[in-house]
C-alpha cells in the first residue's frame, strides 16, 4: 500500500497515549478521514503545530478504512491571525466541528472543502461576524443536500409570498396555511439566504438585524437536525460572542 499525498484541514486532534495523536482530517481527495500520527506529541520535528485544529496541511498518508496512517504533514497555514483572536478561534473551531460531525467518512466533497478554505481565509483577514458564520452554514447545508426550502412551502409547494414562511422543527419551512405555529421568517430573510447561495463569496450579503436573527433560528434548527448531536464548540461560541 503506497502513501498518498492529500490536501487537508485538521478538524480535531486527540492525544493518544504519551506520544501519539489521532486526528480527524477533512481532505480534498477523500473527504473526512481519521488518521493516526505516531510520535506527534513528543517529536515536534515530524509534525510540529501541523496537527492542530483548523491548520491547513499537506499530508502523506496511507489510506485505510477506519484509521489511516499519517506519515508526514507540511503546513500550508496555521492561520496566525485566527489564533491571535478569541472570537475567530471560536468561529474556526465551530466550523471544523460542524464539518466533522455532519460529513460522511471517506466521501470527497470538493465544494465543501473549498467553502471551508474560503471561510478560514476570510476569518484570517476579517473579524469574526455572525453574517459570515450564517453564510458558511447555509452554503454547507446546500452542498450536502440539506438546503432549507427558501422559495416554497415544503408541504403544499405554494410559493412564499410577502408574508414569508414559518419555521417548523428540523428546519422545515411552511406557508401560513400549513403552519401550526412556529417562528416567522420574513421574505427579506429568505431572500438574503438564497442570495448567500447565489453569490458564493463571503461578505457580499447584508443581513438586516431582524433577518440575521431569523436566519439563525432556521440554520440552527436545520443543523441540529442533521448533525445528530449538539456541537460542543457552540456553547463557547455563544458565550464569547454574547
Amino acid at each position: 500500500m503506497h502513501a498518498e499525498k492529500l490536501q487537508s484541514f485538521v478538524l480535531s486532534s486527540l492525544d493518544y497515549g504519551d506520544s501519539d495523536r489521532i486526528v480527524s482530517l477533512f481532505t480534498l481527495e477523500h473527504g473526512r478521514i481519521k488518521a493516526f500520527a505516531r510520535g506527534a506529541r513528543k517529536s515536534r520535528k515530524r509534525f510540529g503545530p501541523a496537527l492542530e485544529a483548523f491548520a491547513r496541511i499537506d499530508v502523506q498518508a496511507r489510506i485505510k478504512e477506519g484509521l489511516s496512517t499519517l506519515q508526514q504533514a507540511d503546513i500550508i497555514s496555521i492561520y496566525p491571525a485566527i489564533r491571535a483572536d478569541l472570537e475567530r478561534i471560536a468561529h474556526a473551531l465551530y466550523a471544523c466541528e460542524l464539518v466533522d460531525v455532519i460529513t460522511p467518512e471517506g466521501h470527497p466533497i470538493p465544494r465543501l472543502y473549498r467553502l471551508l478554505a474560503a471561510y478560514l481565509d476570510r476569518l484570517e483577514t476579517e473579524a469574526a461576524v455572525e453574517g459570515d458564520r450564517r453564510f458558511f452554514e447555509v452554503n454547507l447545508l446546500n452542498i450536502l443536500g440539506y438546503r432549507p426550502s427558501l422559495e416554497s412551502c415544503t408541504r403544499c409547494d405554494s410559493p412564499f409570498m410577502e408574508g414569508g414562511a414559518w419555521l417548523q422543527e428540523g428546519g422545515e419551512t411552511v406557508c401560513r396555511f400549513c403552519c401550526a405555529g412556529g417562528k416567522q421568517l420574513s421574505s427579506a430573510t429568505l431572500k438574503a439566504l438564497s442570495a448567500c447561495l447565489k453569490t458564493g463569496i463571503f461578505g457580499q450579503i447584508d443581513f438586516p438585524a431582524a433577518s440575521m436573527q431569523q436566519a439563525g433560528y432556521l440554520l440552527d434548527e436545520a443543523i441540529s437536525a442533521h448533525s445528530g448531536r449538539r456541537l460542543r464548540s457552540l456553547e463557547f461560541l455563544q458565550q464569547i460572542s454574547g
Partner: protein, 197 residues
C-alpha cells in the same frame, strides 16, 4: 483458570486505563508485579499514600502534600503569578529556576471541541485571587497550542479590567508546544522575554 472478576484480571483492567497501556502491556506489567511480591507491596503502599496525602494546594491548585504548598508558603514573590495548565508544566518551569513568583494551576485549558469552557477550569479562582489584591503581574504560561492560546486570550480579556499587568511567555517556544516538553533553557529565555498583552 482466571475469571474476569479475579483480582489479577482486575489489576490488568486498571492498568489498561493508563495512557499508552494496551491489553498486552497490562498483562506483562501485572505478571511482572506478581513475580516480585516486594515490588507489589511497595507499589500498593505508594498508591495508597498518593491517594491519602496528595491534593491540590488551596491557593494555587498545584499538586502538593502540604496545604498551602511549598511554593505558596515559601520565600517567593506573591505579587507575580504565573498561570500554567497543569502541575507538570509548573514542574518544568521550576526546573528552569528562572521564576521567582508564585503559580496558579488552571487544571486544564479551554478546549471548545472537547466541551471544556472557562467555567470547567480554575479561572474564577484566579480572578478571585487577583481581585483580592496583592497581585501586580500575571504571566500566562499556557501551552502554545490552539487551546492554550484560546485560554491566554480569554484570561487576558477577563483580567484586563482588574488593572493587573498581563504578560505572555514569548521568545523561542515553538508553536504547537506543550510547556512540559520544552527544555529548561528555552523556558528561561521565554520567561525573561515575556510580552505585555
Amino acid at each position: 483458570m482466571l475469571t474476569k472478576s479475579s483480582s489479577l484480571m482486575r489489576l490488568v483492567g486498571e492498568l489498561k486505563k493508563l495512557p499508552g497501556v494496551g491489553e498486552r502491556t497490562a498483562l506483562r506489567l501485572a505478571f511482572h508485579l506478581l513475580k516480585s511480591p516486594g515490588n507489589l507491596t511497595a507499589l500498593s503502599e505508594a498508591l495508597v499514600d498518593v491517594k491519602e496525602k496528595v491534593r491540590a494546594c488551596s491557593t494555587c491548585f498545584a499538586i502538593t502534600e502540604n496545604d498551602p504548598c511549598a511554593i505558596c508558603s515559601g520565600n517567593r514573590d506573591a505579587a507575580a503569578v504565573c498561570v500554567v495548565e497543569n502541575s507538570q508544566d509548573l514542574m518544568s518551569l521550576e526546573r528552569s529556576n528562572a521564576w521567582h513568583g508564585v503559580y496558579h494551576v488552571l487544571e486544564g485549558a479551554i478546549s471548545p471541541l472537547s466541551g471544556i469552557g472557562p467555567s470547567s477550569i480554575r479561572i474564577a479562582e484566579l480572578l478571585a485571587r487577583v481581585e483580592a489584591g496583592g497581585v501586580s503581574e500575571v504571566v500566562i504560561a499556557t501551552n502554545f497550542t490552539v487551546e492554550g492560546e484560546a485560554t491566554a486570550l480569554y484570561l487576558t480579556k477577563v483580567l484586563k479590567p482588574t488593572g493587573v499587568k498581563v504578560t505572555r511567555l514569548a521568545h523561542g517556544i515553538p508553536l504547537g508546544s506543550d510547556i512540559e516538553f520544552v527544555d529548561a533553557a528555552t523556558v528561561q529565555w521565554a520567561l525573561q522575554g515575556r510580552n505585555e498583552l
